[in-house]
């Protein structure tokens, strides 16, 4: 098999100084390019914690995480930030758009942050993504004027704008009604196929998990099962 996109080896994570809570008890995991993976498990089992570690938003207590062949353990914070911007996209449960900006600007934001200013082509690229998610007509709307489902779709477009190999999504449909949730999930599957982007999606929704290429189940800080669905 080809080199994994992400390699997680013996990762543990504890919180607290005096009262130490061990949340992850040694996680080993490989994620592959363009794979659409669900991460399920009971509340408090450590799913979000693992996602934050994979997203370089936090550091493991022990073990290592290799992203695109690069060991991230000893990287300085600034390098981790750059790597995060370039190689990872995020979609969170509480659709985190910037309310002071329009839908189009929100999609452009990772490019602006990476390049330091607007450059030719950025606007067009962001607009093309808005078209793809079916929100081209809302491009100039303020982010807070969009519905919850629309905001989440814009967040998906934003996560994809720098064409990262991996998008991490923590309960992307958790805050939406069934219909918009289904819409967002369809969108994730579609863009994953189209851009050949790997997704790791935390979800509590059985029906959603059932439609992923692979399902990881987490219990008490360990990966209890790893089930791959045969390609259809």
């Amino acid at each position: 098999m080809a080199e994994p996109l992400v390699l997680v080896e013996g990762v543990t994570k504890s919180f607290g100084r005096e009262v130490v809570t061990k949340v992850l008890h040694g996680v080993d995991l490989e994620l592959h390019p363009a794979e659409f993976t669900a991460l399920v498990g009971p509340s408090g089992s450590g799913k979000s914690t693992l996602l934050n570690l994979l997203g370089l938003l936090d550091r493991p207590t022990s073990g290592r995480i290799v992203l695109e062949g690069r060991d991230t353990t000893d990287l300085a914070e600034a390098e981790r930030t750059t790597l995060r911007g370039r190689s990872l996209g995020f979609v969170f449960q509480f659709h985190h758009l910037l309310p002071a900006f329009t839908a189009l600007e929100n999609v452009m934001m990772p490019m602006l942050a990476a390049r330091g200013r607007e450059e030719p082509g950025m606007r067009e690229r962001a607009f093309a993504l808005l078209e793809e998610i079916g929100l081209a007509d809302r491009a100039s709307y303020g982010a807070s004027k969009l519905s919850g489902g629309q905001q989440q779709r814009v967040a998906v477009a934003r996560a994809l704008v720098l064409d990262p190999p991996l998008v991490l999504a923590d309960e992307p449909t958790g805050n939406l009604d069934t219909e918009s949730g289904a819409q967002v999930f369809e969108l994730l599957r579609r863009v994953s196929e189209r851009h050949r982007t790997a997704f790791l999606v935390v979800t509590h929704d059985e029906r959603i998990a059932a439609r992923c290429d692979r399902v990881l189940t987490m219990v008490d800080g360990r990966i209890r099962s790893d089930v791959r669905r045969p390609a259809a």
Partner: protein, 406 residues
């Protein structure tokens, strides 16, 4: 537009009421600074103008005679001596035309004029008054004290036959333009002049004592035989006068006295006035800085979610810091624009409030581009400095925390 500026401006725009309030606060602060500076420098300029309107900036004279005891003390001999100052006699500058040429060639000197000055008595019939006789070259003297505009009657004409005197002296002696007056000096010389005109220099004492004649007439009357008693100077930069005076004294061996030495009290007054207004302005700046800092600290807390998102999608810590520094600077700059308008309006209103009989304002104000630029610079830098602590706070926010708590 740089990413940081874009985000900073949007954050400010989003904080509407907060931004407006702090802008007003900065505006009022800067307004106070502008108003106070304009008023203080206006008052000082008018005070200096009033004082120096009738004074040279630097007066160069021959050095005083030094008196030495006739018998010097030695190792074996103690000498008791009392030194008598010699009676004041007019000292003449040796080789003055060369000195005048030299002074005129020095940088920073705007005008130089030779003067033969000494005590005399003006007589008309039985009345007499002691006067200060001033022999001048009318052409070069204009550069020292511009007399023609101060003439209330006749003209500033001094030659072999004409003299010019002040309105008070003319009243005392009952003289009018065209009348004759006799001038006598302690050296026993005297001459008769026709009054060519009367002046009012805005100083009663000088209007009573000054009598202008030609340089040559004064030289003859004062027995200076072609010499002069002083060279009067105007300099380009008022507060460089003492430095220039010291330089001249060093170069020529003559005595040079600046207006600053002659008007110590005025200078002390001006300086303490500047110092106290400086103190007030410093406190205003501190208040403005605290205001900006507190608004930005609140904004960091309110925007922690946005900051977390920005960081999660690859915004570097240094960029986050700059977003807040830019906010501080923009607040300072924009607030100062408002403050400059406010301060100027206040100053002009104040100036229009009360006027002297001659129509000039009682409280003159000096609104200059330099003052505006200075105020804007101070406010911008203050905003920048005030933003440092909030920016550090924003930079230290942990995106994982922010995302976890929605």
């Amino acid at each position: 537009m740089p990413f940081e500026v874009l985000v900073a401006l949007r954050f400010l725009r989003e904080g509407r009421i907060q931004t407006l309030l702090i802008l007003s606060g900065i505006g009022v602060g800067v307004g106070v600074i502008v108003f106070l500076s304009a008023l203080i420098s206006g008052l000082q300029a008018s005070l200096i103008e009033r004082t120096l309107g009738t004074q040279a900036h630097v007066v160069v004279r021959a050095p005083e005679d030094v008196v030495r005891p006739a018998t010097a003390p030695t190792a074996e001999r103690v000498v008791a001596s009392r030194l008598e100052q010699p009676a004041q006699r007019l000292r003449s500058i040796v080789g003055w035309p060369q000195t005048l040429g030299l002074l005129r060639s020095l940088p920073g000197i705007r005008a130089a004029s030779p003067t033969a000055e000494g005590p005399a008595v003006a007589l008309r019939g039985l009345a007499n008054r002691s006067i200060a006789l001033r022999g001048v070259e009318p052409a070069s003297y204009r550069g020292i004290i511009d007399m023609p505009p101060r003439m209330t009657d006749g003209e500033f004409r001094v030659d072999a036959a004409h003299a010019v005197l002040g309105v008070e002296l003319a009243k005392d002696l009952g003289l009018r333009k065209g009348d004759k007056l006799r001038i006598e000096t302690p050296r026993g010389r005297s001459d008769v002049f026709v009054v060519a005109g009367l002046f009012d220099v805005g100083n009663k004492d000088l209007n009573e004592r000054w009598v202008f004649v030609s340089l040559r007439s004064a030289q003859t009357l004062l027995d200076l035989s072609g010499g002069i008693s002083s060279i009067e100077l105007k300099v380009d930069e008022l507060f460089a006068a003492d430095r220039i005076a010291a330089d001249i004294a060093g170069r020529t061996g003559l005595e040079a006295e600046s207006w600053m030495e002659r008007n110590r009290q005025l200078l002390v007054g001006l300086r303490s006035q500047s110092a106290s207004s400086g103190m007030i302005q410093l406190f205003v700046v501190i208040a403005v800085a605290l205001g900006i800092a507190s608004v930005l600290v609140v904004s960091v807390v309110q925007k922690s979610r946005e900051i977390g998102i920005l960081k999660a999608m690859g915004t570097r810590t240094a960029q986050v810091v700059r977003v807040f520094l830019v906010q501080g600077a923009v607040l300072g700059l924009a607030g100062s624009a408002f403050g400059i308008l406010l301060g100027s309006a206040l100053a002009l209103f104040f100036a229009a409030l009360a006027t002297n009989p001659d129509g000039s304002p009682t409280f003159p104000v000096a609104l200059t581009p330099g003052l505006f630029l200075g105020a804007a610079a101070v406010a911008t830098v203050t905003g920048l400095v005030a933003a440092v602590a909030p920016a550090e706070r924003a930079a230290s926010l942990d995106p994982a925390d922010v995302i976890r708590h929605g």
